[in-house]
Each structure stands twice: as structure tokens, then as C-alpha cells.
């Protein structure tokens, strides 16, 4: 028993060192990246570029399911974005409320014939509507099939070579689309670009725009501001340099349509369609030896509301982790496979061992410590020191994210907001982190149960994916 605990202890220590060394690498890599990105963001002469016809036309894909309360304001805000050539395709995914009626009334919709082939199979379309008031708007009304199915229907209907998937409840900054196209203007071989998603809770919103960014006073949404900063500003920036980024947020990401069509669009069976589509894009492009990049750009910003109640947050995190687990299982063939370059050798292994299995290791650590205490074979001082170092490291990473925010974009101008950011970055490790571990741990159980009833799940078809929206913020 002693030997077993000793070996497990050593294993966890090695895991801790390896994982945190990797985070340190990400942290260091984020420095030159944020330097370059802020330089480009500051120096781009957007007005001049907007006046040229160089910008590629973009289609905004907006799946909407029971969004009656917000859909008109959201779509109006999207239609007034600063961009020369774009269209907005709203997909009413068989809403049971009056989402479609509200759209029809607000934008003077009229039924139009379908003028495109159904390249990706979707649930049947009921009708297509164009607007007499807003020429950029197309509304697709279809039978319910989930978010991925709606996105596929919108891809089919889109006319332009680039598409941006946007949640109907996401607020996009007016120049975000313009900024998102910067890598294209820099002549890079772009397959997809991710922008930053920030927390809108407690912010002042006027006419679908965030006019005053605030850090919430309440703990749960406040701590998520730090989480989002950490995930976007240092996690993904670091991954930019490593080239193995596996997540582009489903709430705000730009994709080349021809590549999405080549992989058959979004998978309707996937729990987290955004991660799934990025991994499949990597796989497709690497298999076919197509040169590409999938950078993350920090200055295009979309704002989203995060759960303020533990119950909803728990459900969201459980689902995200379940999605991560199933994606890692689904694409296990890429793990340590040199055929997939950095994605196979760094990205997939990190997300498998550093993210997917992390809650198991952490809980194992807690269990061993408790058992060790009970048997009197764990040195109390050592154990406490270890916990202190682990928490200290977590705080260091969170505060580093706050530093990056402060030296670059400074969205939270007030001293009070900065103080709250630092406070939440400090408190995150005491209770909140353990709760997220528990929520993520429950995902293992759900996945296990689902595997027992897999046949039944597949028969459910589109309904299984219904209502599964959201965006990931993992490292």
C-alpha cells in the first residue's frame, strides 16, 4: 500500500511538473505574440482598407432556437457592423416560440425561392425569406436539428467564401469583423481565425453594443472573466506560436467555406461542434498537405453572457468536458501521430493528457493525500507545500493573463475593475477550481453512461444535439 501511494505520488508530481512546464512555455510564447498582435492592431489603417474593395466578402451564420426575446436586437446589431461586403443568414431552427414572426415583422420578410444546391445534408428547409428592409439579410426556416445542423444549413445558403459562426445572443464589436480579416490582408494561408470572447455580464449594453466594460461584482461571473482572459489572452496566443490550437470559439470564429464544405460541415452528433470542426479541419488539411494557419487574433472581440448560477455553470462545464473527451476519443488516431505534425505531436496530446485527464489526476491527488494522511505515510509539511505551490502556480497564470490584458487592450479601465480582476484571480484557486474539477469529473460518468446506451443515442439523431450551444474557454 505504502509503495503504491509512493509511486502514485511520484507520478502525480511528474505530471504536475510536466503540465506546468508546458503552461510556462505557453506563457513565455504569449509575450512575443501579444507584442506583434498589438502592434498590428494599433498600426492597421482600417479606414483606408475599408474604403478599398480588398476585403473578402463574409457571411455571418446565426443559428437561432427560441431566441424570440433577443433575436431582433441581435440581428439589427449584426447588420450594422462596420464591413463593406457581408450578408447575415439567420437560421430559425424550428423554434417553438415566435422567433420567426418577430423576424418577419421587424425586417419585412418575404418568401424567396431557393437558389443554391444542398451541399451539406440538413433537416428539411421550410422556407427562405429575404428582407425588403435589409438587403443583406437572409432567413432560413427549417425543421429543428440542433446548432450544428443550423450552421450547415446556413453554410449551404451562404454566397461568400468566408463564414463566421455567431451565436444569436453574442454581441460583436462594430469593427470586430474587420479586425478578424487582418490575417487575410497579411497574405497568410488562413483556414480559420478565432477572435476573443469576453464576458458581458455587468457591462453596459446599448443598442446591441457593449459601451462600458465592467468586471462583475458577483463571484461566479467575475471569476469567469479571469478564466476567459486566461484562456484567450495567454492560452491561445501561446498556441499561435506552437501551431496546434484546437479551439476556435463557436461564438465567434471565421472559417474558409471551401474547407468547411470539404469536411462536410459541422458534425451534428458532436457535443461541442466548435472543437470538433477545428480538429477535423486540421486533420483534413494535414492529410492533404494543404499549407494553412489557424491563428487566434486577440483584438476582434465578441461579448457573451456567462452563467451566474452554479447549476447552469456546472451543466455548461460538464458538457464542455464531455465534448472534449468524446473529441479526443473520436480523433485518437491523431495522438502522437507524426503525420499530423504539431497538432498530432503537441496539440492533441496536450488536450488529451493536460486537459481531458486533468480532473482525474487532480482528484486522484486529493484521494491519495487523504489516504496517506489516514495511514500516516504522507509528510504533512510536504503535502501542504505541494498544495501551496499548485495553487500559487494557478494564481500566477491568472495574474499573468491580467498583465497581458493591462499591457495590451485595457478594456477594464477603472481601478475597481482591475482590483476585482486581481481578487478573482487570487480567489479562483480556493473552492472554484475544485468545483470545476468536480463538474468536469461528472463528464467522465456521463460519457461512460452514454457509451452504455450508444445505440439509443444514435437513433435519437438530430434531437440529441438540440440546444447544445455555448463556447469553450479551455486553455
Amino acid at each position: 500500500m505504502r509503495e503504491l501511494i509512493h509511486v502514485s505520488d511520484q507520478g502525480i508530481l511528474v505530471y504536475f511538473l510536466a503540465l506546468n512546464s508546458f503552461y510556462a512555455v505557453l506563457m513565455i510564447l504569449s509575450i512575443p505574440e501579444i507584442w506583434e498582435q498589438t502592434r498590428l492592431a494599433d498600426d492597421d489603417d482600417f479606414q483606408r482598407i475599408m474604403q478599398s474593395d480588398a476585403l473578402p466578402p463574409i457571411t455571418l451564420l446565426v443559428p437561432a432556437y427560441n431566441e424570440s426575446a433577443t433575436v431582433v436586437a441581435s440581428v439589427t446589431a449584426l447588420l450594422t457592423l462596420e464591413y463593406r461586403n457581408f450578408e447575415v443568414i439567420v437560421v430559425n431552427d424550428g423554434s417553438r416560440d415566435d422567433t420567426l414572426d418577430r423576424l418577419r415583422a421587424a425586417f419585412d420578410l418575404f418568401e424567396a425561392p431557393r437558389t443554391y444546391p444542398e451541399t451539406i445534408p440538413t433537416r428539411p428547409l421550410r422556407a427562405l425569406y429575404r428582407s425588403r428592409a435589409r438587403t443583406r439579410l437572409l432567413v432560413v426556416d427549417k425543421e429543428n436539428g440542433g446548432k450544428a445542423d443550423s450552421l450547415n444549413a446556413a453554410i449551404n445558403a451562404s454566397r461568400f467564401p468566408l463564414v463566421i459562426a455567431v451565436d444569436a445572443d453574442t454581441l460583436i464589436e462594430p469593427d470586430a469583423m474587420l479586425r478578424l480579416t487582418r490575417p487575410f490582408l497579411l497574405g497568410r494561408h488562413i483556414a480559420a481565425v478565432g477572435g476573443t470572447v469576453r464576458v458581458a455580464n455587468s457591462c453596459t449594453v446599448e443598442h446591441g453594443r457593449v459601451t462600458d466594460a465592467r468586471v462583475p461584482r458577483r463571484f461566479l461571473p467575475g471569476v469567469q472573466v479571469v478564466e476567459y482572459l486566461r484562456a484567450f489572452l495567454f492560452g491561445r496566443l501561446g498556441w499561435n506560436r506552437l501551431g496546434g490550437n484546437l479551439i476556435i470559439s463557436g461564438a465567434f470564429g471565421l472559417f474558409r467555406k471551401d474547407y468547411l464544405l470539404a469536411i462536410g460541415g459541422y458534425r451534428t452528433e458532436s457535443v461541442v461542434e466548435d472543437m470538433d470542426v477545428v480538429v477535423r479541419l486540421h486533420r483534413h488539411l494535414l492529410r492533404h498537405r494543404i499549407p494553412y494557419e489557424m491563428p487566434f487574433i486577440p483584438d476582434p472581440v465578441a461579448w457573451t453572457e456567462v452563467p451566474e448560477v452554479g447549476r447552469f455553470l456546472a451543466r455548461q462545464r460538464e458538457r464542455w468536458h464531455r465534448g472534449l473527451l468524446s473529441a479526443m476519443w473520436q480523433y485518437k488516431g491523431m495522438l502522437f501521430n507524426p503525420r499530423y505534425g504539431r497538432v498530432g505531436l503537441i496539440g492533441v496530446p496536450f488536450y488529451t493528457f493536460g486537459e481531458a485527464l486533468a480532473p482525474l489526476v487532480e482528484v486522484l491527488g486529493y484521494v491519495i493525500t487523504v489516504v496517506g494522511f489516514a495511514l500516516g505515510i504522507v509528510n504533512v509539511q510536504f503535502a501542504l507545500l505541494f498544495v501551496l505551490v499548485a495553487w500559487g502556480y494557478g494564481m500566477l497564470l491568472s495574474i499573468w493573463a491580467v498583465v497581458l490584458e493591462e499591457v495590451s487592450f485595457r478594456r477594464y479601465g477603472r481601478v475597481g475593475d482591475l482590483a476585482r480582476l486581481l481578487l478573482f484571480a487570487t480567489l479562483e484557486n480556493f473552492g472554484y477550481r475544485q468545483r470545476t474539477v468536480w463538474w468536469r469529473l461528472k463528464a467522465f460518468l456521463t460519457v461512460w453512461q452514454q457509451r452504455q446506451v450508444w445505440g439509443e443515442m444514435t437513433r435519437k439523431g438530430f434531437e440529441a444535439a438540440k440546444g447544445q450551444t455555448g463556447r469553450r474557454v479551455d486553455g
Binding site: 478599398s52 473578402p56 497579411l186 509539511q381 501551496l388 505551490v389 494564481m395 495574474i399 486581481l422
Partner: protein, 353 residues
């Protein structure tokens, strides 16, 4: 060193780092606030001086003085902003004055810097303040490996007419990514006569892999002087060149164009046929009406769509043919005619774009 010692050292280092980061955040805020307090009044002074100079109530020296008092990036931002507001002749006077100013000399000297962001500053500065003497420097920036730098440098074409600059930009255009290429094209269109002369030579290089992009650019110019050369390219073996040539000659209602498009309407590659039919619709010569009607029977959906849309451009005769197809026996033309006849005017205009 035992494990406990190691962890103690790590914890201490963490503590020091955490304290350092918090100090860094506080210092960063303080420094920015202080800098802003210093710089903001100077920006206002510069804007005021610029406004008075633009109205002719102040001399250029007052502008130069205030520009020199600003940090370089802010001064360049101000120049870029004001360059769009001040008339060309007057702006050239400021550009000439800046040529000999110590501050501008320092910015120019950065064109050879090893740091890309300094070269970018120079390129942005020269884009609004270059004089003909800066041509060699802009040429170097146009060949810069960093895309942000050469994209900023190509904007110089808006203000400086130079055969050398135009040639380098045009040579580079087809090898750039599509978006950057489109941006270059927008800039090059401002030097039209020179560009047309160069294009006439470049379009003769029929084995050039960049030819499709050059033809695409030529098509955007709608330049009659290029018509003959573009029509000759409709017989090129590369289908992409034929597509672009078909698009280009659709702007020229000439018998040669119609003859070439008639030939291309039977091309083995469907994108060529689709574009040829579309261009025939743009010219809308009644003699080609039967040809466009026949394209409604094409096995490819996109060619049928283009044919249906093209028929709407022939006016009443085209519409009549669509109505006939709508009640005809063939499923393909019937479905397409039904679809096109159901399109709103706005949708038709969007398709035409």
C-alpha cells in the same frame, strides 16, 4: 536537495513573481496615465495647428514643430488622418517640408531597420508623405518580407506617380494572396495609363503561371485598350485564364467579344461556359439569344443558373424564352426558369454583382 527544499524554492520564486507582476500592473497603469496626461494636450495642439494650416491661417513650420513634439507613432497617425482631409496640392507642400525635417529624417532612416514594426512606421509615413526622391526607399519597402510593411508601402502609389513603383507592385500583384492582391489592385488602378501599358506587355507572357490573376486584374480595369489582348486569351489552354478572359470581355460589346464568347459557351470546362453565358448576358446581343437559351439545357446546374439570369438581361424576348422554358418538357430548364422568374429585382441585382 530534497523534494521539500525544491518545493520551498518554487514557492518562494512564485511569491516573488506574483509580487513583481502586481507591481508591473500598477506601474504600467501609472506610466500610461502619466504619458497620456503629457501627450494628449500635444495631440490637441497639433490638430489645432493642422486645422489652421489647412485653412491657410498658419504656416507649415507650426505643424512641423508640433509633429516633432509627439511620439513617432502618434505623429504618423495624425499625418495619416489629416492626409485624407487636406487637398492634394497643399498636402504636397507639407510632404516637401517634411523631407528636410529632422524628425522625418529619423523616420525615413528606419526603412532599413531590422525591426519590422519600425519599417512599418516608415512605410506608413511614406504612404502619406513620400516625395519622388523617396522612390528607392519605397521600392525596398515594397519588397519587404513582412506583409504589413509592403501593404503599407503600396499605398504610396496613391500619392507618388512612379513607373518603377508601379512596375514592382504590378509584378508582385499576381503572386500575392487574393485579399492582398485585391488591395494592390485598388492602389494600382490609380496609375491607370502606366498600368495599362505594363499590362499589355505582361499579358503576352502566355506561359506565365500568374496569367489568370493578371487577366482578372485587367478585367477590373474595364480598359478598352486591353480588349484585343484579352480576346486573344480566350483561346488559352488554361481554363482559369479562359474564365477570367470571358469575364473581362463581357464589358466590351464588340463583334470579336461576341464571337469569342460564342466559342467559349461550348467550352469543355463548365466554369468557362458559365462565365461565357454570363458575359453574353452582359452584352445582351439579340443574335446570341438562342445560344443563351440552349445553355438552359446544360448538364451543369451553375451554367443553367447563369443562362437563366442572362436571359433576364435580354428584356422581353429573354423573359419570353424563360416563360416558355417554365412550361416546357425538360426538367432542368423548367426548374431553373421557375427559380429565376421567382427572383426579386433585388436578388437579380445581387446575382449580377
Amino acid at each position: 536537495m530534497t523534494g521539500r527544499h525544491f518545493l520551498t524554492v518554487v514557492a518562494l520564486v512564485q511569491g516573488v513573481l506574483l509580487a513583481a507582476l502586481i507591481v508591473l500592473i500598477i506601474l504600467n497603469r501609472w506610466f500610461r496615465l502619466r504619458r497620456r496626461a503629457q501627450v494628449h494636450p500635444r495631440v490637441i495642439q497639433l490638430n489645432d495647428a493642422m486645422q489652421r494650416w489647412a485653412l491657410g491661417t498658419a504656416d507649415v513650420a507650426s505643424v512641423l514643430l508640433r509633429l516633432a513634439r509627439l511620439p513617432v507613432p502618434l505623429a504618423i497617425d495624425a499625418l495619416v488622418m489629416w492626409s485624407a482631409r487636406v487637398p492634394g496640392d497643399r498636402w504636397r507642400k507639407l510632404a516637401t517640408a517634411l523631407r528636410y525635417h529632422w524628425w522625418a529624417r529619423l523616420v525615413r532612416a528606419n526603412s532599413d531597420s531590422a525591426r519590422w514594426w519600425q519599417r512599418l512606421q516608415t512605410a506608413r509615413f511614406l504612404a502619406v508623405a513620400a516625395t519622388p526622391e523617396d522612390t528607392p526607399r519605397v521600392l525596398r519597402l515594397l519588397r519587404d518580407p513582412h506583409p504589413a510593411v509592403h501593404i503599407a508601402a503600396v499605398a504610396t502609389l496613391e500619392r507618388v506617380e512612379s513607373a518603377a513603383l508601379t512596375t514592382v507592385a504590378l509584378e508582385r500583384l499576381p503572386r500575392l494572396a487574393a485579399t492582398v492582391s485585391a488591395y494592390y489592385a485598388g492602389m494600382l488602378r490609380r496609375s491607370r495609363p502606366l498600368v495599362v501599358q505594363l499590362l499589355l506587355k505582361m499579358l503576352r507572357r502566355t506561359d506565365d503561371p500568374a496569367l489568370p490573376r493578371l487577366v482578372e486584374f485587367a478585367a477590373r480595369l474595364n480598359e478598352p485598350a486591353l480588349r484585343e489582348r484579352l480576346t486573344a486569351l480566350t483561346g488559352h489552354p488554361d481554363p482559369e485564364v479562359r474564365v477570367q478572359a470571358a469575364r473581362a470581355i463581357g464589358s466590351f460589346p464588340h463583334t470579336d467579344s461576341i464571337a469569342a464568347l460564342t466559342r467559349l459557351a461550348a467550352d469543355p470546362a463548365w466554369p468557362v461556359r458559365a462565365q461565357a453565358v454570363r458575359s453574353l448576358g452582359m452584352i445582351a446581343d439579340p443574335a446570341t439569344l438562342p445560344l443563351v437559351r440552349d445553355a438552359l439545357h446544360d448538364p451543369e446546374w451553375w451554367v443553367r443558373l447563369r443562362a437563366g439570369l442572362a436571359l433576364t438581361r435580354f428584356g422581353a424576348p429573354g423573359r419570353k424564352l424563360l416563360l416558355e422554358a417554365e412550361v416546357g418538357g425538360a426538367a432542368g430548364p423548367r426548374d431553373m426558369a421557375r427559380l429565376v422568374l421567382g427572383l426579386s429585382t433585388q436578388a437579380l441585382a445581387e446575382y449580377a454583382a
